[in-house]
């Protein structure tokens, strides 16, 4: 009897594990730096699938389209080739990259969108000459308006943070997200966050439809050696539309949308910086320098004749 109960418990655990694994299965774009020669790095992009972060390269997709969008809003199309994403980005700067997959299965049209942000340090000089001359200061990869070519999209808003680095996200930052369908904000759609360490959370929107979550601190990371520990998380969103139709001669009764965005984050700078120490140093320097000058002048006053010039 005892053995039977143990076996049942084990089977239940295995079943639960399988359920969690199935629930966590996702698809996302991964960026990898490849050292081409003497520290000259090239960025390679792959589509990955699995239980985040464990994954395998996706070799084939159903009717994929690949779009990338430059900061100024231009949208370009390119190819998807056996897992490796071939991108020839014309300008230097940040892009939002989208791979869209469509297929009908069990009378459901699946539209899956894999999104990531790519920074391109190279470019085609003929294409980007004017942009290089112009330069660019204003612009952020946060808070871009959704665009027509992407039906279902999650847009990261500017993170709320307490530290000094503006470009990226760090543990402890609060990341607000808005989810859009056909360029209109969805106010009732939750998102699922999964970190590299396995922390998972379903985030529900507030009354304005804003989805906010605080990036968790990885308490298991050994930051004694590397204080700028880097991790990843995956943001996923799901949406269903009750709409029937025919896609590639296959009828469907509803449409299921899926969206994934991988996000890198580091240990919070608050773990290795000190603002109060900074202020103490500034105030100490001001005090020491001022007092030094005061005493120097007092000492000098007795022997030096004052010569005043008109200053203006």
């Amino acid at each position: 009897m005892y053995g039977y109960r143990q076996t049942m418990q084990k089977m239940t655990l295995v079943f639960l594990f399988c359920m969690i694994s199935v629930a966590n299965a996702g698809t996302w774009i991964e960026q990898r730096y490849v050292d081409k020669s003497a520290g000259n790095y090239d960025k390679e992009l792959y589509l990955k699938e699995g239980n985040f972060p464990q994954s395998e390269v996706v070799e084939n997709l159903n009717n994929p389209t690949l779009l990338y969008r430059y900061d100024y809003g231009e949208v370009f199309e390119t190819d998807f080739d056996h897992g490796k994403i071939n991108v020839n980005l014309p300008y230097k700067g940040s892009y939002h990259l989208f791979i869209q997959e469509r297929y009908v299965e069990d009378s459901i049209l699946h539209i899956k969108m894999y999104k990531t942000r790519v920074y391109n340090s190279k470019g085609n000089i003929e294409d980007s000459l004017i942009k290089e001359i112009r330069g660019k200061t204003v612009g952020s990869h946060f808070g871009k308006e959704p665009f027509e070519a992407v039906t279902f999209e999650a847009v990261l808003q500017k993170p709320i943070k307490q530290h000094h680095i503006n470009c990226c996200v760090y543990s402890g930052d609060i990341v607000p997200i808005k989810v859009y369908f056909k360029q209109k904000q969805l106010k009732n759609t939750p998102i699922v966050i999964t970190t590299q360490q396995g922390w998972e959370k379903t985030v529900n929107p507030d009354s304005d439809g804003l989805l906010s979550f605080e990036i968790p601190r990885n308490t298991y990371a050994d930051i004694s050696k590397n204080k700028r520990f880097k991790e990843q998380l995956l943001i996923e969103a799901f949406y269903e539309e009750n709409k029937s139709g025919i896609y590639k001669q296959k009828p469907y009764e509803k449409i299921k949308y899926y969206l994934s965005i991988p996000l890198s984050f580091h240990t919070s700078p608050l773990e290795y910086t000190s603002k109060s120490a900074g202020f103490y140093v500034v105030i100490s320097v001001i005090a020491v320098f001022s007092l030094g000058l005061y005493y120097y002048r007092r000492k000098k006053k007795k022997i030096v004749k004052e010569i005043w010039f008109e200053e203006d």
């Binding site: 020669s37 003497a38 520290g39 000259n40 230097k92 340090s121 190279k122 470019g123 085609n124 000089i125 000459l129 290089e132 001359i133 112009r134 330069g135 660019k136 200061t137 204003v138 952020s140 307490q162 530290h163 000094h164 503006n166 204080k227 700028r228 700078p269 290795y272 910086t273 000190s274 603002k275 120490a277 900074g278 202020f279 140093v281 500034v282 105030i283 100490s284 320097v285 001001i286 320098f289 001022s290 000058l293 002048r297 004052e306 010039f309 008109e310 200053e311 203006d312």
Partner: protein, 331 residues
């Protein structure tokens, strides 16, 4: 023209400085974007507010690449950036320092505060002037060399740590003080993550302290050490904006020297050279306003005189100054 020659330069300059300060520090909020090659401290660490970006930050960032990268796109992009920077200098020359630079403006405000408080100013020791002049060149060489050495092994030396990718930004007082004007004090910090960052951020805090006290007691305290001034000066000779002197009209009275915030001796002593924009000059044109000789000093833009010294202007400005002094004494 006469009206310009007789103007109260201090007032005009103060107004221009306030306007440019607002544009550079808060311009981003109204969508102003002057690009990222500006020859002035438009700070990249003030990302929301800045109306443009400082080229020193940009060039440090650009140089942090393996040398092979410069044979391709990065090399062309680097030359384009440098060319745009030179164009900006070509237009305004060192007037970027005297009229636009937010750090320069902050220093001028601190000087005004000192004058109001009637605290006596200090001068650098003349024995050390030549050494002080060299500091800006040393800083310029270091800010160009160190980021390059982060990505490249130079002369067989090991690569430098990543904390030196933007060495001048680490110690530039603009990084801390410009964002402070938009209410962001997050740049006041010391980084304990590794020895390089610890040293650089601590140096940054020390420089801010020195900047505040130094600028209070010494006019344009930081400009003597500023690598941006050195970088601009390399391209200054070809600029459209010049400060000319007619040596035959100079009586060496020293009024121009007394007016100069940067204590440039040549402005009073040099009667041979026509172009008097020196490496320390900020083209504030205070010397022109202070000169009592007709047409001895002039600001020239693209071959046209835009402001020159006149006897009438000198007398009017003297009268204005006396009036201001009287009023402040009565207060």
């Amino acid at each position: 023209m006469k009206k310009i020659d007789n103007m109260n330069l201090n007032k005009v300059r103060f107004t221009i400085q306030v306007i440019t300060f607002l544009l550079i520090v808060y311009g981003g909020y109204i969508g102003l974007d002057l690009g990222d090659k500006l020859p002035t401290f438009a700070c990249v660490f003030n990302p929301e507010g800045t109306g443009g970006k400082c080229y020193l930050g940009m060039i440090q960032h650009d140089l942090d690449h393996p040398w092979q990268a410069f044979l391709g796109f990065a090399g062309i992009a680097f030359l384009i950036s440098l060319f745009i920077f030179v164009l900006w200098v070509w237009v305004l020359n060192k007037a970027w320092c005297g009229y636009v630079c937010p750090l320069g403006t902050m220093q001028d405000w601190l000087t005004s505060l000192r004058k109001k408080l009637k605290v006596k100013f200090i001068e650098y020791d003349w024995a050390n002037r030549e050494s002080i002049k060299k500091v800006k060149w040393i800083l310029l060489i270091l800010l160009l060399l160190l980021p390059f050495m982060v990505s490249n092994s130079l002369l067989g030396l090991p690569k430098l740590p990543g904390g030196l990718t933007m060495p001048f930004c680490d110690i530039c007082p603009g990084r801390m003080l410009i964002p402070a004007f938009v209410g962001d004090f997050n740049q006041f910090y010391i980084d304990f993550s590794n020895p390089t960052d610890l040293i650089m951020t601590s140096l940054g805090m020390i420089v801010v302290g020195l900047f505040i006290v130094g600028s209070f007691f010494k006019k344009r305290f930081f400009c003597y050490f500023c690598p941006m001034a050195a970088f601009q000066y390399i391209f200054s000779k070809q600029s459209l904006f010049k400060l000319y002197k007619d040596g035959s009209k100079c009586t060496k009275c020293g009024d121009c020297y007394n007016a100069c915030d940067m204590d440039i001796l040549e402005i009073a002593d040099d009667i041979k050279n026509k172009n008097l924009v020196t490496e320390d000059c900020t083209l504030c044109l205070k010397c022109v306003a202070a000169c009592p000789e007709e047409g001895c000093l002039e600001a020239n833009f693209a071959g046209k005189t835009i402001f020159k010294s006149t006897k009438e202007g000198f007398i009017l400005r003297m009268a204005m100054n006396q009036q201001i002094q009287k009023e402040s004494n009565n207060d």
